[in-house]
Symmetry: C2
Subunit: 182 residues, 2 copies
DNA sequence: CCTTAGTATATAAAAAATTATATATAATCT
DNA sequence: AGATTATATATAATTTTTTATATACTAAGG
C-alpha cells in the first residue's frame, strides 16, 4: 500500500486537497505511481481515521468547499519509516501488449503489426513530452515542491528512467516488427 | 481484467487445474503478467459460472481431488474477441523503487546507494536466469504448449523484452548511482 | 449564445489483487 | 528421526483499484 505514502510524501511539502494531490501526481509520479481521483479521496479518508493526516475545510463561494489535508506528526513518522525500509525485490510488471502477443500465434499478422506500430508512436510521443517538459513544467513543479539540489538529482533520475524505458520500448518494437515481418 | 484471458489462453492449449495454471504462468508470462494462486482459483470459479470454462473432477488417492478446467466454445470465442481488440494505450507502471527515490532527498545517501546496488544485482540475476533457461526450460515449455514457428517468434519477443528491460535497468542504476555519489 | 472543457469536489458499487489460512501426502535435507 | 520444502489442493478476509456517477460553477471556443 504505497499510495498512502505517496500522499504523505506530497503533504510533507505542503498541505493540499485531494484534487491538488491528483494534479500533482499526474505531473510528477504518474510514470511510476498513479492513482485515480476516487482512490485518492478514499485513501485520504482512511488516513485521517488512522491519524496520519488532518483536514481543515476552507469555505468557498459558489464552489464546493475545499478539504485541505496536512500531515500529522504520526504521518511524518510513518513516512520516514517507509522511506528507510529498503526495496529488496524486483517490481513485478504487467504489460498487456506482451500478454496479447504471447497468445497471438494464430492472429492476423497485419493487425498485429499495425498495433505494434501504434505502440511505437505512443512511446515516441511520450519521449517528445519528456523533451517538451524540460523547461516550463519542471520549473513550475520545482517551485511547488522545493527541495534544492538533492531533489534535482533524484527527480531527474526518475525522469531519466522514463526516457530510457521509452527508448528501450521503441528499440524492442522495431526489432519485433522486423521479426514478425519475415 | 486480463487474468481471465490469460487463463483462457492457456486452457486453449490443453485442460489444466488451477495449480498447473499457476505453475505455467510462473515459467512463462510471469515477467509481464502474474497472479497469486488464490486469484487464479477465484477467477476460474467465476469463469465457470459465466460458462467460459468447464471443470471435471479427477479422483486422487491420498491427495485432494484435481479439478481440471477446459475452455468452452463460449470461452474460445471470448478469447478470440479479446485477442483481436488492439491495445491502443501505453501501459501504466508502478515502480516502488522510483517512488521511494522520488521522496528520498533527506535520506541517508549510503543507504540509498546500497539499495540501488542491491537492485542492480537482482536485475543481473534475472539476466542470468534468462540465459540459463535458454535450453532446458524453454524446450520443456514448448512441449507443454506447442504451436510451431509462429509461437517461437512471439514467445522469443516477450523474452527479449525481459532481457532488454533488465539491461536498461542496470544501465539506469549505474548512471543513477554515479550521480548520487557526487 | 450555446456547448464543451476545465475546476473542484466527492460517493457507491464492483472488480481485482493480496494476505492469511487450511489440509494432507511425498520427498528431501540435516 | 525430525524438520523443512514441495506437491496439490483450495477458502476467507481484507485491501486496492477501477468504473460509474453526481453536483455545480467558470472560462473559452465556435
Amino acid at each position: 500500500m504505497s499510495l498512502k505514502y505517496t500522499l504523505l510524501g506530497f503533504l510533507n511539502y505542503q498541505p493540499m486537497t485531494g484534487y491538488e494531490l491528483k494534479q500533482t501526481m499526474d505531473i510528477s509520479t504518474s510514470n511510476f505511481w498513479h492513482a485515480k481521483q476516487s482512490q485518492i479521496y478514499t485513501t485520504l479518508k482512511k488516513m485521517e481515521e488512522k491519524g496520519l493526516v488532518m483536514s481543515d475545510i476552507e469555505e468557498q463561494n459558489g464552489r464546493p468547499n475545499r478539504r485541505v489535508y496536512k500531515v500529522t506528526e504520526s504521518g511524518r513518522a510513518a513516512l520516514q519509516t517507509w522511506l528507510k525500509k529498503p526495496v529488496m525485490e524486483l517490481q513485478a510488471h504487467k504489460e498487456l501488449l506482451l500478454l496479447k502477443l504471447f497468445f497471438s500465434a494464430d492472429q492476423d499478422k497485419q493487425a498485429l503489426l499495425t498495433q505494434l506500430n501504434w505502440q511505437r508512436d505512443l512511446h515516441q510521443q511520450r519521449l517528445a513530452v519528456y523533451q517538451g517538459e524540460t523547461k516550463a513544467v519542471i520549473e513550475q513543479f520545482a517551485r511547488m515542491m522545493p527541495g534544492g539540489e538533492q531533489n534535482a538529482v533524484l527527480w531527474n533520475a526518475t525522469r531519466r528512467f522514463g526516457v530510457m524505458f521509452a527508448q528501450m520500448s521503441i528499440k524492442w518494437l522495431d526489432e519485433t516488427i522486423k521479426k514478425i515481418e519475415d
